[in-house]
Symmetry: C2
Subunit: 307 residues, 2 copies
């Protein structure tokens, strides 16, 4: 059997079966691993960007440098942690222009400075394509990180910002559409949602960042928490882009917005917060039902999987 | 200007200029970064293995799984730390057999169990070639990690094990030589030198593991510490392989032995320890002189650089 037949999430399941975390550490299956340390806990996450898969040769190196840290920052934000230290592994072709790498590094450095992150190490190797692997270490007060597996029946489901703009920006770039600068920026230079994460964390039972697509990432919460969800189509803050469908917006991924579950007693509190939209409710069972005008909408093959 | 013209160490120098670690953390330029945490310090290292650069398609996946963690373990050993938690990023072609990946994971798991390491996370992406990026977190008592930049004029220089066997094994594999199983094993399944590291650490002023080649890794200590070295050719414990030259053994790399600097007052103490050989002395100035029968041997273009 080939990897392509097992699928990315099938592979991750196999890895989890082989490697079980023990004791107080929290391992595979969340945005970050959690390592308790005295009165703190460390959060560790890693993300790889591959040329031809996550980005194309023509991308501005400065923005790629920013994004390669941003996608990791978003994982720390999704646990309501504070980012601290980064490690950068670069696999590079020897024919690449030094100026390209310098621009890439300037982008990485600028976003690192914006979020008070220090680069502490990494690795450089030769390669025929560009691979960028970043490990980011964050910190939190002990027990304060918001996980995926703690959503409960009856919680309300919120989302930050809008859904689908990053995918719309990707399509605009891919198809060479003129204009749409704001959408393109959403795809090329995503903004990790720390501000919203810190604001909502005291009320949150579970949280995740949207990298694979709203529906798929909601499903990750459901699977880890052993719950289901009802999502109300009409409440979803879809992106204003008119050239892709709403289904594509739900499934495109790379929004780097947050999905948050909150106990229903805090509903009024969080509804009054800027930047959040209530889009559904946590239910018993393991399924997600998207309801549109009271009817269940079928959404299939939705969300990004690498294999 | 192309990356190939700047060279790997030129690129790392540029990165260090752009990113300076602040405060009590110890950053780029050592085997691991050091993060002080209460009465402990965390050690973090990352290493990437690239198909066609670090290994070839025919390699046994079980052994590759072992080696991809072993090279990181060696970095923790070189600081005299205890390895704890690993993160594995795999970029895979979708046509790869699942059984191949399972064998790879079994190798990774077995060596993780041998060294009490838990896999806590990672990332899976698609790719046309196999990229394996591992981040390993270790731990030490605060202030006990042995760095590279603390060798001092007058220290003696020791090395563990023998030098050149891994490169000999690589050549035997590359050229399809029959036999030489022990040498091939040294290349495919290197053993991190924790036992030796812990034994020598109380006396060590500086330590590094040999990944780029004995001479080049000695040079890393010299550059970081602002010192030079005299290395005595006749004292070097060369590998017994007869089909490569001693120059190749010095430069081939991937020995994963340790180079240790020790204050001269502990010379007798460490000479009596099993598994160590005194090969030289730390001197003023920034150069390494390899002496053979009292004469300086010229060794040029020595050691592995990716660009």
């Amino acid at each position: 059997m080939k990897i392509g037949e097992v699928g990315e999430f099938g592979l991750i399941k196999k890895i989890r079966e082989l490697f079980r975390a023990e004791g107080s550490v929290w391992g595979i299956g969340d945005d970050c691993a959690i390592l308790p340390y005295g009165d703190k806990e460390l959060l560790i996450t890693t993300d790889t960007l591959v040329q031809g898969v996550h980005f194309f040769e023509g991308v501005e190196p400065y923005l790629l440098g920013r994004k390669s840290l941003a996608v990791n920052l978003s994982d720390i934000a999704a646990m309501a942690g504070k980012p601290k230290w980064a490690f950068l592994s670069l696999s590079l072709d020897i024919d690449r222009e030094l100026s390209w790498i310098e621009q890439f590094l300037m982008g990485f450095r600028d976003i690192a400075l914006e979020y008070d992150v220090s680069l502490l190490g990494g690795d450089t190797t030769s390669s025929d394509k560009l691979y960028i692997s970043v490990t980011l270490v964050g910190e939190n007060e002990r027990g304060k990180s918001v996980k995926r597996n703690t959503a409960r029946d009856g919680d309300i489901v919120l989302v930050t910002g809008s859904i689908g703009c990053s995918y719309a920006g990707f399509v605009a770039l891919r198809d060479g559409l003129e204009g749409y600068d704001e959408l393109k920026k959403r795809h090329l230079d995503p903004k990790p949602r720390f501000f919203e994460a810190f604001k909502v964390a005291p009320f949150a039972t579970a949280m995740i960042d949207i990298s694979d697509g709203l529906i798929q990432d909601c499903l990750h919460i459901c699977e880890e928490s052993g719950v289901g969800m009802e999502i109300y189509w009409d409440k979803i803050p879809f992106c204003g882009a008119e050239f892709i469908s709403k289904e594509e917006m739900l499934c495109g991924g790379e929004d780097y917005e947050l999905v948050v579950c909150v106990k229903s007693c805090f509903k009024e509190k969080v509804e009054s917060m800027d930047g959040f939209t209530v889009i559904g409710e946590v239910k018993k069972g393991g399924r997600i039902e998207v309801l549109r005008g009271g009817k269940v909408v079928k959404i299939k093959d939705c969300g990004y999987s690498h294999f």
